[in-house]
Symmetry: C2
Protein backbone atom coordinates (compact mmCIF):
# COMPACT_ATOMS: atom_id res chain seq x y z
CA UNK A 1 0.00 0.00 0.00
CA UNK A 2 1.55 3.32 -1.02
CA UNK A 3 2.60 5.36 1.95
CA UNK A 4 1.11 8.57 0.63
CA UNK A 5 -2.49 7.38 1.04
CA UNK A 6 -2.07 5.88 4.50
CA UNK A 7 -2.84 8.34 7.28
CA UNK A 8 -1.71 7.84 10.86
CA UNK A 9 -1.76 11.47 12.04
CA UNK A 10 -4.92 12.60 13.79
CA UNK A 11 -4.23 16.16 12.69
CA UNK A 12 -3.83 15.25 9.02
CA UNK A 13 -5.56 18.05 7.06
CA UNK A 14 -8.06 15.71 5.37
CA UNK A 15 -8.99 14.15 8.70
CA UNK A 16 -9.36 17.55 10.35
CA UNK A 17 -11.54 18.70 7.48
CA UNK A 18 -13.76 15.61 7.89
CA UNK A 19 -14.26 16.38 11.58
CA UNK A 20 -15.05 20.00 10.78
CA UNK A 21 -17.67 18.95 8.24
CA UNK A 22 -19.07 16.49 10.76
CA UNK A 23 -19.35 19.09 13.52
CA UNK A 24 -20.11 22.39 11.82
CA UNK A 25 -23.21 23.23 9.86
CA UNK A 26 -21.46 26.38 8.70
CA UNK A 27 -18.64 24.36 7.13
CA UNK A 28 -21.13 22.04 5.41
CA UNK A 29 -22.99 25.01 3.98
CA UNK A 30 -19.86 26.82 2.86
CA UNK A 31 -18.43 23.81 1.05
CA UNK A 32 -21.62 22.13 -0.14
CA UNK A 33 -20.41 18.92 1.46
CA UNK A 34 -21.61 16.54 4.15
CA UNK A 35 -20.29 13.42 5.86
CA UNK A 36 -21.62 9.88 5.92
CA UNK A 37 -20.46 7.11 8.21
CA UNK A 38 -20.98 3.38 8.03
CA UNK A 39 -20.49 0.66 5.45
CA UNK A 40 -24.05 0.55 4.21
CA UNK A 41 -24.54 4.20 3.40
CA UNK A 42 -21.03 4.57 2.01
CA UNK A 43 -21.53 1.56 -0.25
CA UNK A 44 -24.82 3.16 -1.31
CA UNK A 45 -23.05 6.45 -2.03
CA UNK A 46 -20.45 4.69 -4.16
CA UNK A 47 -23.26 3.78 -6.55
CA UNK A 48 -23.35 7.50 -7.37
CA UNK A 49 -19.61 8.15 -7.72
CA UNK A 50 -20.05 11.85 -8.52
CA UNK A 51 -21.45 12.31 -5.03
CA UNK A 52 -18.43 11.00 -3.16
CA UNK A 53 -15.41 13.25 -2.86
CA UNK A 54 -13.33 11.35 -0.35
CA UNK A 55 -13.48 7.99 1.36
CA UNK A 56 -11.67 6.98 4.56
CA UNK A 57 -11.29 3.34 5.59
CA UNK A 58 -9.59 2.06 8.74
CA UNK A 59 -7.33 -0.98 8.73
CA UNK A 60 -9.90 -3.05 10.56
CA UNK A 61 -12.67 -2.00 8.19
CA UNK A 62 -10.49 -2.77 5.19
CA UNK A 63 -9.79 -6.25 6.51
CA UNK A 64 -13.50 -6.92 6.97
CA UNK A 65 -15.14 -4.97 4.16
CA UNK A 66 -12.43 -4.29 1.61
CA UNK A 67 -14.32 -6.29 -1.01
CA UNK A 68 -17.25 -3.87 -0.92
CA UNK A 69 -14.93 -0.91 -1.39
CA UNK A 70 -12.59 -1.98 -4.19
CA UNK A 71 -14.46 0.20 -6.69
CA UNK A 72 -13.33 3.20 -4.71
CA UNK A 73 -9.71 2.09 -4.73
CA UNK A 74 -9.35 2.75 -8.45
CA UNK A 75 -10.86 6.19 -8.23
CA UNK A 76 -8.15 7.84 -6.18
CA UNK A 77 -10.71 9.02 -3.63
CA UNK A 78 -9.79 6.30 -1.13
CA UNK A 79 -7.68 7.19 1.88
CA UNK A 80 -6.61 4.39 4.20
CA UNK A 81 -6.34 5.40 7.84
CA UNK A 82 -5.16 3.79 11.05
CA UNK A 83 -7.79 2.59 13.51
CA UNK A 84 -6.61 5.31 15.93
CA UNK A 85 -7.38 8.00 13.35
CA UNK A 86 -10.79 6.45 12.78
CA UNK A 87 -11.45 6.77 16.50
CA UNK A 88 -11.28 10.55 16.16
CA UNK A 89 -13.73 10.58 13.27
CA UNK A 90 -16.63 8.43 14.26
CA UNK A 91 -19.91 9.84 15.46
CA UNK A 92 -21.66 6.66 16.60
CA UNK A 93 -20.92 4.18 19.32
CA UNK A 94 -20.73 1.31 16.84
CA UNK A 95 -18.87 2.93 13.96
CA UNK A 96 -17.57 0.61 11.28
CA UNK A 97 -14.48 2.57 10.35
CA UNK A 98 -15.81 3.70 6.95
CA UNK A 99 -16.32 7.42 6.35
CA UNK A 100 -17.15 9.49 3.28
CA UNK A 101 -17.18 13.15 2.40
CA UNK A 102 -20.10 13.60 0.02
CA UNK A 103 -21.25 16.45 -2.19
CA UNK A 104 -24.67 17.96 -1.56
CA UNK A 105 -26.45 17.20 -4.84
CA UNK A 106 -26.96 20.20 -7.08
CA UNK A 107 -30.59 20.72 -7.99
CA UNK A 108 -32.36 22.88 -10.50
CA UNK A 109 -34.30 25.74 -8.80
CA UNK A 110 -37.48 24.49 -7.16
CA UNK A 111 -39.75 26.71 -9.22
CA UNK A 112 -38.51 25.01 -12.39
CA UNK A 113 -39.15 21.46 -11.18
CA UNK A 114 -42.55 21.67 -9.45
CA UNK A 115 -45.14 19.79 -11.47
CA UNK A 116 -48.89 20.44 -11.11
CA UNK A 117 -49.47 16.69 -10.81
CA UNK A 118 -46.56 16.13 -8.40
CA UNK A 119 -46.80 14.83 -4.80
CA UNK A 120 -44.74 16.74 -2.28
CA UNK A 121 -44.01 16.73 1.41
CA UNK A 122 -43.22 19.98 3.20
CA UNK A 123 -41.48 19.95 6.59
CA UNK A 124 -42.07 23.20 8.42
CA UNK A 125 -40.18 23.64 11.69
CA UNK A 126 -39.38 19.94 12.16
CA UNK A 127 -36.54 19.74 14.67
CA UNK A 128 -35.69 16.12 15.39
CA UNK A 129 -32.94 14.71 13.13
CA UNK A 130 -34.18 11.14 13.69
CA UNK A 131 -37.65 12.11 12.49
CA UNK A 132 -36.17 13.96 9.53
CA UNK A 133 -34.09 10.96 8.52
CA UNK A 134 -36.99 8.53 8.88
CA UNK A 135 -39.17 10.80 6.75
CA UNK A 136 -36.56 10.98 3.98
CA UNK A 137 -36.22 7.19 3.97
CA UNK A 138 -40.00 6.81 3.73
CA UNK A 139 -40.34 9.49 1.04
CA UNK A 140 -37.73 7.62 -0.96
CA UNK A 141 -39.50 4.29 -0.54
CA UNK A 142 -42.92 5.68 -1.41
CA UNK A 143 -41.79 7.70 -4.42
CA UNK A 144 -42.58 11.19 -3.18
CA UNK A 145 -41.38 13.65 -5.81
CA UNK A 146 -39.49 15.97 -3.48
CA UNK A 147 -39.21 16.89 0.18
CA UNK A 148 -39.32 20.63 0.82
CA UNK A 149 -37.96 21.91 4.10
CA UNK A 150 -39.00 25.29 5.48
CA UNK A 151 -37.13 26.27 8.62
CA UNK A 152 -36.55 22.68 9.74
CA UNK A 153 -33.42 21.03 11.04
CA UNK A 154 -30.59 20.74 8.56
CA UNK A 155 -31.11 18.02 5.96
CA UNK A 156 -27.44 17.04 5.77
CA UNK A 157 -26.62 16.92 9.48
CA UNK A 158 -24.86 13.63 10.41
CA UNK A 159 -27.81 12.34 12.47
CA UNK A 160 -30.23 12.93 9.60
CA UNK A 161 -27.91 11.27 7.11
CA UNK A 162 -27.59 8.25 9.39
CA UNK A 163 -31.32 7.86 10.02
CA UNK A 164 -32.13 8.34 6.34
CA UNK A 165 -29.83 5.48 5.38
CA UNK A 166 -29.01 6.09 1.71
CA UNK A 167 -32.15 8.09 1.01
CA UNK A 168 -30.49 11.45 1.52
CA UNK A 169 -28.59 10.63 -1.67
CA UNK A 170 -31.73 9.94 -3.68
CA UNK A 171 -34.68 12.05 -2.59
CA UNK A 172 -34.71 15.54 -4.11
CA UNK A 173 -34.70 17.95 -1.18
CA UNK A 174 -35.03 21.72 -1.13
CA UNK A 175 -34.52 24.07 1.80
CA UNK A 176 -35.94 27.51 2.35
CA UNK A 177 -36.53 29.83 5.29
CA UNK A 178 -39.62 31.35 3.72
CA UNK A 179 -42.58 29.07 4.44
CA UNK A 180 -45.19 31.54 3.24
CA UNK A 181 -43.26 32.17 0.03
CA UNK A 182 -43.14 28.40 -0.51
CA UNK A 183 -46.89 28.12 0.01
CA UNK A 184 -47.41 30.86 -2.58
CA UNK A 185 -45.08 29.15 -5.02
CA UNK A 186 -46.94 25.84 -4.68
CA UNK A 187 -50.30 27.57 -5.11
CA UNK A 188 -48.91 29.30 -8.21
CA UNK A 189 -48.25 25.86 -9.71
CA UNK A 190 -51.77 24.71 -8.84
CA UNK A 191 -50.47 22.30 -6.21
CA UNK A 192 -52.92 22.11 -3.31
CA UNK A 193 -51.31 22.50 0.12
CA UNK A 194 -52.78 20.50 3.01
CA UNK A 195 -51.74 21.44 6.53
CA UNK A 196 -51.48 18.27 8.66
CA UNK A 197 -53.10 19.11 12.00
CA UNK A 198 -54.41 17.03 14.92
CA UNK A 199 -57.39 19.35 15.18
CA UNK A 200 -61.05 18.75 14.58
CA UNK A 201 -62.47 20.79 11.74
CA UNK A 202 -59.84 19.62 9.26
CA UNK A 203 -60.72 17.20 6.48
CA UNK A 204 -60.52 13.67 7.84
CA UNK A 205 -58.03 11.59 5.88
CA UNK A 206 -59.93 9.34 3.49
CA UNK A 207 -59.77 7.79 0.04
CA UNK A 208 -59.18 10.31 -2.70
CA UNK A 209 -58.43 13.29 -0.49
CA UNK A 210 -54.70 13.27 -1.28
CA UNK A 211 -53.21 12.39 -4.62
CA UNK A 212 -51.90 14.09 -7.74
CA UNK A 213 -50.97 17.72 -7.35
CA UNK A 214 -50.82 18.00 -3.63
CA UNK A 215 -48.36 18.95 -0.93
CA UNK A 216 -48.76 17.85 2.68
CA UNK A 217 -47.27 20.14 5.32
CA UNK A 218 -45.91 18.66 8.58
CA UNK A 219 -45.12 20.94 11.52
CA UNK A 220 -42.91 20.99 14.58
CA UNK A 221 -42.91 17.96 16.91
CA UNK A 222 -44.15 19.96 19.88
CA UNK A 223 -46.07 22.90 18.55
CA UNK A 224 -47.25 21.78 15.12
CA UNK A 225 -47.65 24.24 12.24
CA UNK A 226 -47.84 28.00 12.89
CA UNK A 227 -51.30 29.45 12.34
CA UNK A 228 -50.17 31.71 9.48
CA UNK A 229 -48.85 28.66 7.65
CA UNK A 230 -52.09 26.75 8.25
CA UNK A 231 -53.97 29.72 6.84
CA UNK A 232 -51.66 29.94 3.84
CA UNK A 233 -52.16 26.23 3.07
CA UNK A 234 -55.82 26.75 2.35
CA UNK A 235 -56.73 23.17 3.27
CA UNK A 236 -56.10 21.01 6.31
CA UNK A 237 -56.07 17.25 6.85
CA UNK A 238 -56.19 15.20 10.03
CA UNK A 239 -55.58 11.51 10.66
CA UNK A 240 -58.55 10.17 12.61
CA UNK A 241 -57.51 8.88 16.03
CA UNK A 242 -59.12 6.82 18.73
CA UNK A 243 -58.62 9.20 21.61
CA UNK A 244 -55.43 7.90 23.18
CA UNK A 245 -52.55 10.32 22.59
CA UNK A 246 -53.14 13.88 21.45
CA UNK A 247 -51.20 13.37 18.27
CA UNK A 248 -49.04 10.98 16.32
CA UNK A 249 -45.29 11.29 16.15
CA UNK A 250 -44.46 13.76 13.35
CA UNK A 251 -42.55 11.20 11.27
CA UNK A 252 -45.33 8.64 11.67
CA UNK A 253 -47.98 11.16 10.61
CA UNK A 254 -45.83 12.11 7.61
CA UNK A 255 -45.46 8.43 6.69
CA UNK A 256 -49.18 7.69 6.81
CA UNK A 257 -49.95 10.83 4.78
CA UNK A 258 -47.28 9.98 2.19
CA UNK A 259 -48.73 6.50 1.93
CA UNK A 260 -52.14 8.02 1.27
CA UNK A 261 -50.69 10.32 -1.40
CA UNK A 262 -49.20 7.35 -3.11
CA UNK A 263 -51.85 4.64 -2.61
CA UNK A 264 -54.26 6.34 -5.00
Amino acid sequence: MPKDVYITAKDNPAVKRYRKLRDQKKARRAEGLFVAEGLRIVADALRYPAMVQQLFVTDTAWAHHGDALTAAQESGMLLRISDAVGETMHDTAHGQGVFAVCRVPERAPLETVLRPEGRYLVLCGLQDPGNMGMILRTADALGIEAVLSAGSCELFAPKVVRAAMGSVLRVPVYETDDALGLAAMLAGREIVSFAAVPAQGADVLRDGLLGDGCAVWIGNEGSGLPQDVIDACGRAVTIPMSGGPESLNAAMAAGILMWEMRRQ
Copy 2:
Protein backbone atom coordinates in the same frame (compact mmCIF):
# COMPACT_ATOMS: atom_id res chain seq x y z
CA MET B 1 -43.44 20.91 53.99
CA PRO B 2 -43.17 17.97 56.42
CA LYS B 3 -39.64 16.76 56.86
CA ASP B 4 -40.51 13.09 56.53
CA VAL B 5 -41.37 13.35 52.83
CA TYR B 6 -38.43 15.52 51.80
CA ILE B 7 -35.46 13.49 50.65
CA THR B 8 -31.96 14.89 50.44
CA ALA B 9 -29.97 11.66 50.70
CA LYS B 10 -28.93 10.09 47.41
CA ASP B 11 -28.86 6.68 49.07
CA ASN B 12 -32.37 6.97 50.48
CA PRO B 13 -33.98 3.52 50.01
CA ALA B 14 -36.82 4.81 47.81
CA VAL B 15 -34.36 6.65 45.58
CA LYS B 16 -32.08 3.63 45.35
CA ARG B 17 -35.06 1.48 44.47
CA TYR B 18 -36.06 3.91 41.69
CA ARG B 19 -32.58 3.72 40.17
CA LYS B 20 -32.63 -0.07 40.38
CA LEU B 21 -35.97 -0.21 38.58
CA ARG B 22 -34.62 2.23 36.00
CA ASP B 23 -31.49 0.20 35.31
CA GLN B 24 -32.45 -3.44 35.79
CA LYS B 25 -34.90 -5.38 33.71
CA LYS B 26 -34.70 -8.13 36.29
CA ALA B 27 -35.89 -5.78 39.04
CA ARG B 28 -38.75 -4.53 36.86
CA ARG B 29 -39.84 -8.09 36.14
CA ALA B 30 -39.56 -9.22 39.74
CA GLU B 31 -41.61 -6.35 41.10
CA GLY B 32 -44.03 -5.77 38.22
CA LEU B 33 -43.02 -2.11 38.22
CA PHE B 34 -41.45 0.33 35.79
CA VAL B 35 -40.28 3.94 35.89
CA ALA B 36 -41.48 6.97 33.97
CA GLU B 37 -39.73 10.33 33.79
CA GLY B 38 -41.00 13.72 32.68
CA LEU B 39 -43.93 15.94 33.45
CA ARG B 40 -46.10 14.90 30.54
CA ILE B 41 -46.05 11.17 31.03
CA VAL B 42 -46.29 11.45 34.79
CA ALA B 43 -49.28 13.78 34.51
CA ASP B 44 -50.77 11.24 32.11
CA ALA B 45 -50.12 8.43 34.58
CA LEU B 46 -51.82 10.36 37.38
CA ARG B 47 -55.05 10.09 35.38
CA TYR B 48 -54.89 6.37 36.23
CA PRO B 49 -54.03 6.63 39.95
CA ALA B 50 -53.98 2.88 40.48
CA MET B 51 -50.99 2.72 38.14
CA VAL B 52 -48.75 5.08 40.09
CA GLN B 53 -47.08 3.75 43.19
CA GLN B 54 -44.67 6.55 43.97
CA LEU B 55 -43.97 10.02 42.65
CA PHE B 56 -40.73 12.02 43.09
CA VAL B 57 -40.61 15.76 42.43
CA THR B 58 -37.53 18.00 42.74
CA ASP B 59 -37.70 21.47 44.29
CA THR B 60 -37.22 23.10 40.91
CA ALA B 61 -39.92 20.97 39.29
CA TRP B 62 -42.30 21.69 42.15
CA ALA B 63 -41.75 25.43 41.72
CA HIS B 64 -42.53 25.21 38.01
CA HIS B 65 -45.07 22.42 37.77
CA GLY B 66 -46.54 22.02 41.24
CA ASP B 67 -49.99 22.95 39.96
CA ALA B 68 -50.09 19.94 37.69
CA LEU B 69 -49.15 17.61 40.53
CA THR B 70 -51.38 18.71 43.41
CA ALA B 71 -53.67 15.72 42.87
CA ALA B 72 -50.76 13.51 43.86
CA GLN B 73 -50.08 15.49 47.02
CA GLU B 74 -53.27 14.29 48.67
CA SER B 75 -52.62 10.68 47.85
CA GLY B 76 -49.55 10.18 50.00
CA MET B 77 -47.59 8.85 47.04
CA LEU B 78 -45.70 12.11 46.56
CA LEU B 79 -42.09 12.37 47.71
CA ARG B 80 -40.35 15.71 47.43
CA ILE B 81 -36.64 15.48 46.68
CA SER B 82 -33.74 17.90 46.43
CA ASP B 83 -32.48 18.81 42.97
CA ALA B 84 -29.24 16.97 43.78
CA VAL B 85 -31.15 13.74 44.41
CA GLY B 86 -33.01 14.26 41.13
CA GLU B 87 -29.66 14.45 39.36
CA THR B 88 -28.98 10.84 40.37
CA MET B 89 -32.32 9.65 39.02
CA HIS B 90 -32.76 11.15 35.60
CA ASP B 91 -32.18 9.19 32.45
CA THR B 92 -32.41 11.97 29.86
CA ALA B 93 -30.30 15.03 29.20
CA HIS B 94 -33.26 17.34 29.66
CA GLY B 95 -35.02 15.74 32.61
CA GLN B 96 -37.73 17.78 34.25
CA GLY B 97 -37.27 16.55 37.80
CA VAL B 98 -40.49 14.51 37.85
CA PHE B 99 -40.26 10.75 38.28
CA ALA B 100 -42.80 8.02 38.89
CA VAL B 101 -42.72 4.37 39.85
CA CYS B 102 -45.63 2.76 37.98
CA ARG B 103 -47.26 -0.62 38.16
CA VAL B 104 -47.23 -2.84 35.08
CA PRO B 105 -50.96 -3.16 34.34
CA GLU B 106 -52.43 -6.55 35.13
CA ARG B 107 -54.12 -8.13 32.16
CA ALA B 108 -56.36 -11.10 31.71
CA PRO B 109 -54.62 -13.99 29.91
CA LEU B 110 -54.28 -13.31 26.19
CA GLU B 111 -56.26 -16.38 25.16
CA THR B 112 -59.28 -15.03 27.01
CA VAL B 113 -59.23 -11.59 25.37
CA LEU B 114 -58.50 -12.36 21.70
CA ARG B 115 -61.56 -11.60 19.59
CA PRO B 116 -62.10 -13.10 16.12
CA GLU B 117 -62.92 -9.63 14.79
CA GLY B 118 -60.04 -7.89 16.61
CA ARG B 119 -57.10 -6.08 15.00
CA TYR B 120 -53.69 -6.90 16.44
CA LEU B 121 -50.06 -6.04 15.91
CA VAL B 122 -47.37 -8.60 16.67
CA LEU B 123 -43.75 -7.52 17.17
CA CYS B 124 -41.39 -10.40 16.65
CA GLY B 125 -37.73 -9.73 17.41
CA LEU B 126 -38.02 -5.94 17.32
CA GLN B 127 -34.95 -4.57 19.11
CA ASP B 128 -34.97 -0.77 19.00
CA PRO B 129 -36.68 0.84 22.02
CA GLY B 130 -37.40 4.01 20.04
CA ASN B 131 -39.20 1.99 17.38
CA MET B 132 -41.09 0.07 20.04
CA GLY B 133 -42.22 3.26 21.75
CA MET B 134 -43.29 4.89 18.50
CA ILE B 135 -45.28 1.79 17.59
CA LEU B 136 -47.09 1.77 20.95
CA ARG B 137 -47.97 5.45 20.56
CA THR B 138 -49.30 4.82 17.06
CA ALA B 139 -51.23 1.70 18.09
CA ASP B 140 -52.85 3.76 20.84
CA ALA B 141 -53.78 6.56 18.42
CA LEU B 142 -55.15 4.20 15.80
CA GLY B 143 -57.15 2.03 18.19
CA ILE B 144 -55.33 -1.26 17.71
CA GLU B 145 -56.82 -3.77 20.13
CA ALA B 146 -53.56 -5.06 21.56
CA VAL B 147 -49.86 -5.22 20.80
CA LEU B 148 -48.35 -8.67 21.18
CA SER B 149 -44.61 -8.93 21.61
CA ALA B 150 -42.76 -12.14 20.81
CA GLY B 151 -39.08 -12.04 21.73
CA SER B 152 -38.80 -8.28 21.23
CA CYS B 153 -37.15 -5.67 23.44
CA GLU B 154 -38.75 -5.13 26.81
CA LEU B 155 -41.99 -3.17 26.66
CA PHE B 156 -41.42 -1.34 29.95
CA ALA B 157 -37.78 -0.32 29.49
CA PRO B 158 -37.26 3.41 30.19
CA LYS B 159 -36.49 4.26 26.56
CA VAL B 160 -39.65 2.55 25.36
CA VAL B 161 -41.76 4.26 28.00
CA ARG B 162 -40.32 7.63 27.00
CA ALA B 163 -40.85 7.18 23.25
CA ALA B 164 -44.36 5.84 23.79
CA MET B 165 -45.33 8.95 25.72
CA GLY B 166 -48.37 7.92 27.79
CA SER B 167 -49.38 5.09 25.46
CA VAL B 168 -47.62 2.40 27.45
CA LEU B 169 -50.27 3.08 30.10
CA ARG B 170 -53.16 2.56 27.71
CA VAL B 171 -52.41 0.02 25.00
CA PRO B 172 -52.95 -3.56 26.12
CA VAL B 173 -49.63 -5.31 25.62
CA TYR B 174 -48.71 -8.98 25.99
CA GLU B 175 -45.26 -10.53 25.96
CA THR B 176 -44.27 -14.06 25.09
CA ASP B 177 -41.12 -15.86 24.01
CA ASP B 178 -43.03 -18.37 21.93
CA ALA B 179 -43.74 -16.82 18.52
CA LEU B 180 -44.95 -20.06 16.96
CA GLY B 181 -47.25 -20.74 19.90
CA LEU B 182 -48.67 -17.25 19.50
CA ALA B 183 -49.28 -17.82 15.79
CA ALA B 184 -51.13 -21.03 16.65
CA MET B 185 -53.20 -19.27 19.31
CA LEU B 186 -54.22 -16.54 16.85
CA ALA B 187 -55.12 -19.11 14.20
CA GLY B 188 -57.18 -20.96 16.80
CA ARG B 189 -59.24 -17.81 17.28
CA GLU B 190 -59.70 -17.45 13.50
CA ILE B 191 -57.52 -14.37 13.41
CA VAL B 192 -55.53 -14.24 10.16
CA SER B 193 -51.81 -13.59 10.62
CA PHE B 194 -50.03 -11.53 7.94
CA ALA B 195 -46.23 -11.51 7.94
CA ALA B 196 -44.98 -8.05 6.92
CA VAL B 197 -42.13 -8.63 4.48
CA PRO B 198 -40.30 -6.47 1.95
CA ALA B 199 -40.30 -9.36 -0.50
CA GLN B 200 -42.01 -9.82 -3.80
CA GLY B 201 -44.50 -12.66 -3.82
CA ALA B 202 -46.40 -11.34 -0.80
CA ASP B 203 -49.83 -9.77 -1.15
CA VAL B 204 -49.41 -6.11 -2.05
CA LEU B 205 -51.05 -3.87 0.51
CA ARG B 206 -54.36 -2.63 -0.89
CA ASP B 207 -57.90 -1.76 0.10
CA GLY B 208 -59.65 -4.50 2.00
CA LEU B 209 -56.65 -6.74 2.51
CA LEU B 210 -56.36 -5.95 6.22
CA GLY B 211 -59.27 -5.35 8.53
CA ASP B 212 -61.38 -7.20 11.06
CA GLY B 213 -59.87 -10.34 12.48
CA CYS B 214 -56.29 -9.88 11.46
CA ALA B 215 -52.86 -9.67 13.05
CA VAL B 216 -49.90 -8.07 11.29
CA TRP B 217 -46.46 -9.38 12.24
CA ILE B 218 -43.45 -7.03 12.19
CA GLY B 219 -39.92 -8.44 12.40
CA ASN B 220 -36.47 -7.37 13.46
CA GLU B 221 -35.08 -4.06 12.14
CA GLY B 222 -32.16 -5.71 10.39
CA SER B 223 -33.17 -9.25 9.58
CA GLY B 224 -36.95 -9.12 9.40
CA LEU B 225 -39.11 -12.08 10.40
CA PRO B 226 -37.62 -15.58 10.71
CA GLN B 227 -38.71 -17.94 7.95
CA ASP B 228 -40.48 -20.32 10.33
CA VAL B 229 -42.59 -17.44 11.59
CA ILE B 230 -43.41 -16.32 8.04
CA ASP B 231 -44.47 -19.89 7.30
CA ALA B 232 -46.58 -20.05 10.45
CA CYS B 233 -48.37 -16.81 9.55
CA GLY B 234 -49.89 -18.35 6.48
CA ARG B 235 -50.20 -15.04 4.67
CA ALA B 236 -47.75 -12.25 3.88
CA VAL B 237 -48.19 -8.58 3.06
CA THR B 238 -45.79 -6.07 1.53
CA ILE B 239 -45.97 -2.30 1.22
CA PRO B 240 -45.30 -1.41 -2.42
CA MET B 241 -42.17 0.70 -2.78
CA SER B 242 -40.61 2.76 -5.54
CA GLY B 243 -37.22 1.16 -5.59
CA GLY B 244 -35.21 3.48 -3.34
CA PRO B 245 -34.35 1.81 -0.04
CA GLU B 246 -34.66 -1.93 0.43
CA SER B 247 -37.23 -1.54 3.17
CA LEU B 248 -39.07 0.90 5.35
CA ASN B 249 -38.11 1.51 8.96
CA ALA B 250 -39.86 -1.13 11.08
CA ALA B 251 -41.91 1.40 13.05
CA MET B 252 -42.96 3.19 9.89
CA ALA B 253 -44.02 -0.05 8.22
CA ALA B 254 -45.97 -0.96 11.35
CA GLY B 255 -47.65 2.45 11.33
CA ILE B 256 -48.75 2.24 7.71
CA LEU B 257 -50.05 -1.31 8.22
CA MET B 258 -51.94 -0.31 11.39
CA TRP B 259 -53.45 2.60 9.49
CA GLU B 260 -54.62 0.16 6.81
CA MET B 261 -56.12 -2.14 9.44
CA ARG B 262 -58.06 0.74 10.84
CA ARG B 263 -59.00 2.72 7.69
CA GLN B 264 -61.44 0.08 6.56
